[in-house]
């Protein structure tokens, strides 16, 4: 039981990191990026080729690099690599495209990437993928297998907290407000002198870096990564998580990931297997997520934890629900010492 909980907990922490990355693209900046998961995959692959030993030692295996570096180098490389690819793709795609056209291009780009990664063996070993990833810090810790599992869980939680804090600081920074302003009204934002293209691109790259870091953690969690273990469909599930939890709210992204991507799948595993159909589990899970997206959009379009419209702290504001009181005209200022309500198009930053 302990092992099971630690294992699910680790997956939950990694999934939350990945959902946070998507939230900085879709939530903060409003980019409907349907190809997000490829950056997670890139992170996993880049981490893999950096930390695995050279491919020449095994027959019939081929991948680039194989530098046998320590985990931290792989982790940083994954974030950096995914960020660089985001920079290139984003620079092209965000220049001219908006809304659904942008979405279609991202999904097309993902499928191109997926096909090339699976077919072109010298890059990341094609369909067989990478396997045998190392256990970070295992050599210097010398723990029992169970102890190590618990350690890795702790490591993932530390990364999650760090990513969360950084993204939350960014959200509240002048930069975050400017990105939101561009999301709400691009013309107004540019009239106030914001460089909208650059702001969108930055949010896109930040999302890519976080995705890469999540991918790196994922690589060392499952120790193998190949095209069968991910598909462009994962991105849709992440959107389900964000919509359920609350788009553009970092805490909401984590809550949504825990509910839609961890709790639900674990619960559907309790459903007895339907005859010989081995696909029943994932199929039911996907149907439920589809229905969940529909229900959330219908009944609670803002998600469980709606986006905060004040600059103040996540927990403090949420406790007072002051955005609601303000909206309904009940005086909140006496109970709430929070910062001013943000005008999305306001010129609060030079």
């Amino acid at each position: 039981m302990f092992e099971y909980l630690v294992s699910v907990g680790t997956l939950a922490a990694i999934t939350s990191v990945i959902a946070l990355g998507l939230n900085s693209r879709w939530g903060l900046s409003g980019q409907l990026d349907l190809g997000y998961y490829i950056y997670v995959a890139l992170g996993a692959y880049i981490d893999g080729v950096l930390t695995l030993p050279s491919a020449h030692t095994q027959p019939d295996v081929s991948y680039i690099l194989g530098l046998h570096l320590p985990f931290l180098a792989g982790f940083a490389g994954a974030g950096l690599g995914a960020g660089l690819v985001s920079l290139v793709v984003g620079a092209v795609a965000l220049k001219n495209l908006r809304g659904d056209y942008f979405a279609i291009v991202t999904v097309a780009a993902t499928i191109i990437g997926y096909t090339v990664i699976s077919q072109y063996k010298p890059l990341f070993n094609g369909y067989n993928g990478l396997y045998g990833a190392s256990q970070p810090f295992a050599a210097s810790l010398n723990l029992s297998p169970q102890g190590y599992q618990a350690f890795y869980f702790g490591l993932c939680v530390v990364v999650l907290v760090a990513v969360f804090v950084v993204l939350e600081l960014l959200r509240r920074s002048p930069f975050g407000l400017a990105v939101k302003a561009v999301r709400e009204n691009e013309i107004a934002a540019s009239a106030f002198g914001k460089r909208t293209y650059l702001l969108r691109l930055k949010a896109y790259v930040i999302g890519g870096v976080v995705a890469g870091l999540g991918g790196s953690l994922f690589m060392h969690y499952i120790t193998a990564f190949n095209p069968a273990s991910w598909s462009p469909l994962e991105t849709f599930l992440l959107y389900g998580a964000l919509l359920v939890g609350g788009t553009a709210n970092n805490l909401g992204a984590v809550v949504g990931a825990l509910i839609a991507l961890i709790a639900f799948p674990q619960l559907t595993q309790l459903i007895p297997a339907l005859g010989s159909n081995s696909n029943a589990g994932p199929a039911i899970q996907n149907i439920v997520i589809g229905l969940l997206i529909f229900a959330v959009l219908l009944f609670r379009a803002a998600g469980i934890l709606p986006e905060l419209t004040t600059m103040s702290g996540q927990l403090r504001t949420r406790g007072a629900w002051n955005w609601r009181r303000r909206a309904t005209g009940q005086a909140a200022d006496s109970a709430e010492p929070a910062g001013p309500v943000v005008d999305p198009a306001g010129p609060e930053e030079a």
Binding site: L32, L34, V92, N96, L97, G99, D100, Y101, A103, I104, V105, V107, A108, A109, I111, I112, T115, V116, Q119, L233, F236, Y239, G240, L243, L274, S276, N277, S278, N279, A280, P282, A283, I284, N286, I287, I289, G290, L291, I293, F294, L297, L298, A301
Partner: protein, 292 residues
């Protein structure tokens, strides 16, 4: 030279399948302004309906009828059940797009749940190829091309000469103006979903015939090729869709001969991205844009 002709022949068949599906997507987008991500699932359901009918009745014609009926019903259901609750709210177009993604997820997995994931094949013989002009075609392929041409002519006649077609074009051009002129927009939209669902269902059946198999993600995987053709032709432009389908279909099949057939979707999506970056108004630009 021979390989090129062979590729062109394959390309024409692919273009025929693609044209039916793309015209449906373009018509539906033109009238409703929602990019339908569940369009591929209309095709999948059409194909599986045809498979079930052919298994039960051993008639290809009945299979086609089943595909058309299933597609039409599902199209109307998407309009009524999925968009219906959101009709009287002010929702962003992106929200409706996300809704169609949810529908795609639900339908695709319902098919997976019901028919299992393994590839099924249609019990149809292909016939022997024979020479038609410079190309080699089987009777089946000739039939597919003929059906596609007929449908294109039919769509043209519908848009041009019937009240429904005129009303459709009016709604596509300007919804509130059409309403003000006495067009029952809700009914036009509803019938458009029926029509485009039927066309998509039929194209799914034909896709299953040309590729030889059915699987739950078949429509989803084909969808992006359809989007590529629709966008290349200028999305919402039925005539552009035909041109886009021809270009994408032929390019995909010809490239498969020279590169590797594994990469033919890459070529299609590459075209899509180039089209969006450099010619977002489509190959056949609407007249409106030309005159300003």
């Amino acid at each position: 030279m021979n390989t090129l002709l062979l590729g062109l022949g394959f390309g024409l068949v692919t273009a025929a399948v693609l044209a039916i599906s793309t015209v449906a997507l373009s018509l539906q987008f033109g009238v409703t302004r929602v990019p339908n991500f569940a369009h591929g699932e209309l095709m999948t359901v059409g194909a599986y309906a045809a498979y079930t009918a052919i298994r039960a009745a051993h008639s290809t014609l009945l299979g086609a009828v089943a595909a058309i009926a299933a597609g039409a019903i599902l199209g109307a259901a998407i309009n009524k059940l999925l968009f219906g609750p959101f009709r009287h709210r002010q929702v962003a177009r992106l929200t409706l797009f996300v809704l169609t993604i949810a529908a795609s997820l639900i339908i695709q997995n319902a098919v997976l749940l019901y028919f299992n994931g393994s590839t099924l094949s249609l019990p149809l013989g292909g016939g022997t190829p024979h020479k038609v002009g410079p190309f080699l075609f089987t009777t089946q392929q000739e039939l597919i091309i003929a059906v596609a041409v007929l449908i294109m002519l039919g769509v043209h006649a519908l848009l041009r000469y019937t009240y429904f077609g005129r009303a459709q074009r009016a709604v596509a051009e300007n919804l509130s103006l059409a309403r003000a002129s006495g067009v029952n927009a809700a009914r036009v939209i509803n019938r458009t979903w029926l029509l485009t669902g039927a066309l998509a269902g039929l194209s799914g059946f034909i896709l299953a015939i040309t590729t030889g198999g059915l699987y739950p993600a078949m429509g989803f995987q084909f969808l992006l090729v359809v989007f590529a053709a629709a966008i290349l032709g200028g999305i919402g432009q039925p005539y552009g869709a035909m041109a886009g389908a021809l270009v994408v279909g032929v390019t995909m099949e010809v490239s498969a001969l020279y590169i590797s057939s594994d990469y033919k979707t890459v070529v299609a999506f590459g075209l899509l991205i180039l089209a969006l970056l450099f010619r977002p108004q489509g190959l056949v630009a609407p007249r409106r844009a030309a005159t300003g």
